[in-house]
């Protein structure tokens, strides 16, 4: 019997179902579909739109002081971290300490990022370089992401004893990861972040198991709303890289454009040209070294962060970012020196 044949069999449905099968069902379905569509595109448990939630998240991360314990799950490994995040006079002080295994710490303070990892020399990096004010302080703009991602409300969940709204940022292809943010209904902070790839299970999960909000020192620069992208540039990230540079990208993964270029002084005075490419959410860095002391040939990764490297025109080029392997490989394959050279 075909699907449509059911229209001609005896009606054995209950009176209730017969009622809904009457001519009014069309309007009822339309109403339901409208409600579902409304819920799926706008409403969240707290009644805020995904756009509002993402803006609140940005504001919370920029303005709130907090401390807590975080669990980090990757590849069936579970790590515990202690985080203390303070905002004072508009400056962020953050300390992240691993509580499992070898001691690893990261401190952001006084414009520097200092990192001590196991079996590694301490790393001290000048924080937030060129373009920071333009690129970093901006709230996530779902419209600007719309070419590569879809933003959906995913319901509500309870995390660390607090109610959260869940927002999904879903990639439209395999070149970038997706995110699921569990945003505290009270403060707007992300209490849980899931990094989603092509598989059903998240690649990584980071979650607060305990959170204590600290008294925040109000500062206009720190507590003001994250600036909205300027008019006319909302739809796409804008390239801030001059075209006159000796290096360019012949082809890039869909949606990625160069958004920053800098001459970066590595430890010991080594100079590297540093490009940042972004699709508005995901990003990769490209380092070009003219006189490298050891360089990556091939690819490697830590967790969901991939790196790939090769020699190009006598220079060592290394691409690193929290994107799938094929994306760093595509970026690496696209870099050229000058306008005429081919690999």
């Amino acid at each position: 019997m075909k699907h449509g044949d059911s229209l001609f069999v005896a009606d054995t449905r209950t009176p209730c179902r017969r009622y809904f099968s009457s001519h009014s069902v069309t309007s009822c379905r339309l109403l339901l579909l409208s409600l579902v569509a409304l819920c799926c595109t706008h409403a969240t448990a707290s009644g805020r739109t995904p756009e509002e939630l993402l803006a609140r998240m940005s504001d919370a991360l920029r303005s709130l002081s907090y401390e807590g314990t975080i669990v980090y799950l990757y590849e069936s490994n579970l790590e515990t971290l202690r985080i203390v995040h303070r905002v004072e006079d508009g400056q962020v002080q953050e300390r992240l300490v691993s509580l499992n295994g070898p001691l690893r710490t990261l401190t952001r303070e006084n414009g520097r990022v200092t990192c001590e990892l196991s079996d590694s020399h301490p790393i001290s990096i000048r924080g937030h370089g060129v373009g920071k004010d333009v690129l970093h302080a901006r709230a996530l703009d779902p419209e600007a992401l719309s070419d590569n991602y879809e933003v959906h409300p995913l319901g509500a969940a309870r995390v660390a004893g607090r109610q959260t709204d869940v927002v999904g940022i879903i990639p439209q292809d395999d070149l970038r990861y997706g995110y699921r943010f569990y945003l505290d209904q009270d403060s707007g902070l992300p209490l849980k972040s899931d990094l989603i790839g092509q598989l059903t299970d998240p690649i990584e999960q980071v979650m607060f198991t305990s959170l204590r909000l600290l008294p925040s020192q109000k500062s206009p620069s720190a507590t003001g709303s994250a600036p909205a992208p300027p008019q006319g540039s909302r739809s796409h990230p804008r390239s801030l890289v001059p075209a006159s540079l000796p290096w360019h990208f012949d082809s890039l993964p869909s949606g990625f454009i160069p958004v920053m270029h800098d001459n970066w002084h590595d430890t010991g005075g080594q100079l590297a040209e540093h490009f940042v490419l972004s699709d508005g959410l995901a990003s990769v860095s490209v380092y070009v070294e003219s006189d490298p002391q050891g360089g990556l040939e091939g690819d490697t990764r830590i967790g969901a962060i991939h790196a790939a490297g090769r020699r190009v025109a006598g220079h060592q080029v290394t691409v690193v970012g929290e994107v799938p392997l094929q994306t760093v490989e595509a970026v690496l394959a696209g870099i050229r020196k000058g306008r005429e050279e081919r690999p």
Binding site: Y72, T105, P237
Partner: protein, 187 residues
């Protein structure tokens, strides 16, 4: 055995008995086998609540105390018989002795009979067998899976700088740094 006696034994086992009731409770324990069993049960329950191993020594503790005391040699010579003189302090001395006995029974005797935390761990009968692979602790290995410390260090520097300069780092909050600090490659 009355309900009141049960309550007194329970309070005694918990160390929360009214000092005025110690004498009567010790006397009741000596004279009532039922109360003695109750006393043992309370100790077993206490050990279970404290997640202590239930030792055989906890069983029939009263009988063991009696036995140990009986086995103790007479170190002090028996004093010569003297005329009995009943002191006015005799009742208080009795209570003090009873309290001492109770303290001994509650706190000292378990120490005598239990092996204590410094005792060597009794090896498992299967200690010679290697545990299954899935039970072995994984050991940390190179974070970037490359056998060149200098290159690993450089990749770490690249990554820290990348996270700090990336447009969406601020938006994603602690997530990028959680990966950086939390990740420890396993072998």
């Amino acid at each position: 055995m009355s309900e009141q006696q049960r309550q007194h034994v329970s309070a005694f086992a918990d160390g929360e008995i009214d000092p005025a009731l110690v004498h009567a409770t010790v006397s009741a324990l000596e004279s009532s086998a039922g109360l003695g069993e109750l006393w043992e049960h309370y100790h077993l329950i206490g050990a279970a609540i404290r997640s202590e191993p239930v030792r055989e020594e906890y069983r029939r503790i009263a009988a063991q105390v009696s036995q140990r005391i009986a086995e103790e040699p007479d170190i002090m010579p028996k004093p010569a018989a003297r005329p009995v003189r009943i002191s006015r302090l005799a009742p208080f001395v009795g209570i003090a002795l009873a309290a001492s006995a109770a303290f001994f029974a509650v706190f000292a005797v378990p120490q005598l009979f239990s092996p204590g935390s410094d005792a060597p761990v009794v090896p498992s009968r299967q200690a010679g067998l290697a545990p299954p692979k899935q039970f072995l602790l994984s050991s940390p290995t190179q974070r970037w899976h490359v056998n060149e410390p200098a290159l690993e260090n450089k990749l770490d520097r690249f990554l820290v700088n990348h996270q700090e300069q990336s447009p969406a780092t601020g938006v994603k909050g602690f997530l990028p740094y959680a990966t950086l600090v939390g990740y420890e490659a396993r072998r």
